[in-house]
């Protein structure tokens, strides 16, 4: 049971890891993108639309092109979330709109967008259930490492995931390395700490803010795609994604802006998110208790927030200019 719990915890954690890695890059540029839940939602539905169009275009459903069936939803997802990132960047960086308002608006918009197209697709296929199933695409997305079954518990805990899950972990490691050890990372952190300083040092603040937000959005969008295609086995139903987007943002604070910590943090959050199911098997409990336990990730985040503000260590503080627009000729 512990192995299956860990397995489920990882599966739960991967969308959060994508979301938080994307948000960390974004926040390091000083953009507090609260649109992440919406962006992940749009990433999910864009992938669904891509998969739906491809599956419907197939004549012989038993033999799809393995490359296209992966590439089309993937590109659709990246494109959808990129557009969201661009909207956010344009509004906050170019037009210097308030970041919180823009982000919250994007979340509302993204969820509405997803539910609209999700509902449309469900109407199109005329099913009895309020969901659409893309089992063919999901089969490819959910493929685990081939030798996972043969390795016992080790296989279940470490090897039984799809390529996107490993990509999430790889992305977190690469982003962590990039932030800490490369010139791009140094420049990016500088932009988030003090755009005026970065500007005076000859770094294009606008370019970095746009790039970080757009790349961050695309990474976050993959979280939505992973959720639909692997975790939910290709089943899209409106609002099923739940509060995972907000959990991803909470995870950013929990990790004190370090993607590497996010890998373990996302599994912890994933575990805390589903632990009520397992506890329920051990000690049966009523719904309200279960809902209380579901709150655990947020409680942990609040504790981390209190801890970092009490320690007052400069290195664990959010980027100094997070949430602020930059205008060069401002006095």
């Amino acid at each position: 049971m512990i192995t299956s719990f860990l397995h489920r915890a990882v599966m739960q954690g991967i969308p959060l890891l994508f979301g938080s890695t994307g948000e960390i890059i974004t926040e390091k540029s000083g953009n507090l993108n609260l649109g992440i839940p919406g962006i992940m939602y749009v990433g999910g539905i864009s992938g669904v639309i891509g998969a739906f169009l491809y599956e419907n275009s197939l004549v012989d459903k038993s033999n799809p092109n393995a490359f296209l069936i992966i590439a089309i939803p993937l590109l659709a997802c990246l494109l959808g979330s990129l557009l969201m990132g661009l909207i956010y960047s344009f509004l906050t960086t170019t037009l210097r709109a308030n970041q919180n308002v823009t982000g919250l608006a994007l979340t509302t918009f993204g969820i509405g967008f997803g539910n609209f197209f999700g509902g449309s697709l469900i109407t199109l296929v005329k099913t009895d259930v309020p969901s659409i199933t893309l089992s063919l695409t999901s089969k490819y997305f959910a493929k685990t490492l081939p030798f996972a079954d043969k390795c016992g518990w080790f296989g279940e805990v470490f090897l039984s995931y799809s390529f996107l899950a490993y990509f999430a972990i790889l992305t977190a490691i690469v982003v962590g390395f990039m932030l800490k050890r490369t010139r791009t990372g140094l420049n990016l952190r500088a932009v988030g700490e003090s755009p005026a300083t970065a500007d005076a040092a000859g770094i294009s603040v606008t370019k970095y803010k746009y790039a970080a937000t757009c790349i961050g959005s695309m990474i976050a969008g993959l979280g939505g795609l992973y959720y639909v295609m692997d975790y939910a086995s290709g089943v899209w139903s409106n609002d099923a994604f739940g509060d995972r987007g907000w959990l991803a943002i909470a995870l950013v604070i929990f990790t004190v802006w370090r993607p590497n910590i996010g890998i373990l943090g996302s599994i912890l959050f994933g575990g805390l998110y589903i632990v009520h199911n397992y506890l329920n098997n051990l000690i049966p409990m009523n719904m309200s208790t279960q809902e209380l336990i579901k709150m655990a990730p947020y409680v942990v985040t609040v504790i981390v927030l209190i801890a970092i503000s009490m320690r007052k260590k400069r290195e664990t503080q959010p980027p100094a200019s997070l949430g602020l627009a930059y205008f060069r000729e401002d006095r």
Binding site: T182, S194, T197, D199, A200, G202, S204, Q317, E329
Partner: protein, 514 residues
Amino acid sequence: MEKTAAIELKNITKVFGQIVANKNVSLTVYNHEILSILGENGSGKTTLMNMISGIYHPDEGQIFIGGKEAVIHSPKDAYRYKIGMIHQHFKLIDVFTAVENIVLGINEGKYDLKAATKVVQETCEKYGFEIDLNKKIYQMSVSEKQTVEIVKTLYRGADILILDEPTAVLTPQEIDKLFAVMRRMRDDGKAIIIITHKLNEVLSISDRVSVLRKGEYIGTVNTCEANESILTEMMVGEKVSLNIARTEPKNAKKRLSLTNVTVLSDDGRSILKNVNFTANAGEILGIAGISGSGQKELLEAIAGLQHLKSGSILYYDPVTGKEENLRDKTPMQIKNLGVRLSFVPEDRLGMGLVGSMDITDNMMLRSYRSGNGAFVHRKAPQDLAKRVVKDLKVVTPGVQTPVRRLSGGNVQKVLVGREISASPTVLMAAYPVRGLDINSSYMIYNLLTEQKENGVAVIFVGEDLDVLTELCDRILVISGGVVTGIVDGRGATKEELGLLMTKAHHSEKEGTAQ
């Protein structure tokens, strides 16, 4: 020594809104020389330099570098032309180390901090900088931060260095060190521009002096042919009388008296120890001391912003003659007692005014409680704002301008104007002329004297001993939270005050009597 023009400005004009910051400025800087740019506050020195370093873009005029016309659109362009500027507010990232800040924004070669550290270390040795390159900026002193800034520009290969008021934040020893480094850089062939308004520094460091007045270029003189009075005349236009009008106090009656006031800091150190003094109506009481000796806490204690460990603050009401103890009362409670206390704090935009609000709204911070029910009166504060702008000659496009957009001196005038308009019985002003030009400073002195003549007890915290001895009736000297003496302003000497300022001061902190 061969001298070639490093940078030439021709007819530069820059306008912000309706304020002309620079008008037809032309000047030349040569290699192997230190040029001072001298001017009062708001004369456009910093704006001019920001145009060379790419922060602003001139509206009219041309910049020539090495004889060729240069278009500088961004700080990056400025670096390409080998121009480096050390801003008054350091452009450093607090959580980065010195070396990370130094290599920031350089996109050539491999990213290798260790190799970079070595190269930077060599630069430091060449010019005699002492700095720990792996220290984080937030752990550094102001002087260290400045060193990082200078090393940063040199590392980028700057041949033209601009220093914006570099000495304002340094101790005299640190200033000597900085000047030594500047001379070494000059001898190395660099062109150095230093912005300052301290005449003695201009005379000691520079080869030539260019003077700006109200955004216009007045002229350039060789330092060896200049002296303080020539430069002052160029800077201010007409000769300003250096005498502050001081009237004799009339019926000086007790207004405020502090007994055994002790204030502790958050970590339990005593900031004020058994402070005793009386401030009289119709008198200016000066407070002198090395900065950070407890002046700020003293004023805040009177204003109801500091908790007293012990002691009392008695206020004598001029109308009813009653005594009130202000100890541990909130500013609102103090006001409700009928005590009309006006406070011009040191941190103007932090405690005094709200930067993003306009002048009228800032006036309302004192009168927002008047009005009908939930509605406020806007007419009266607006009239007051207009009156302050007119009477104190505040340079602003209008009363609707956010105060953050005004220059330092004008911000101060708005604040002082508001505080005086409340017809106070006690007026406290902390460093009210800091950062102000000579004319504005005198305007503030006159306003304080006028208040004193109206029977207000004025408490003036100052740093310039010449001003204190000319303006104040009595001067209280504070050192390390202890009152070391109260002397008569007439006849007090700077030496006497300087001695009291350092007396009993266990030299934990660095600081100097001016």
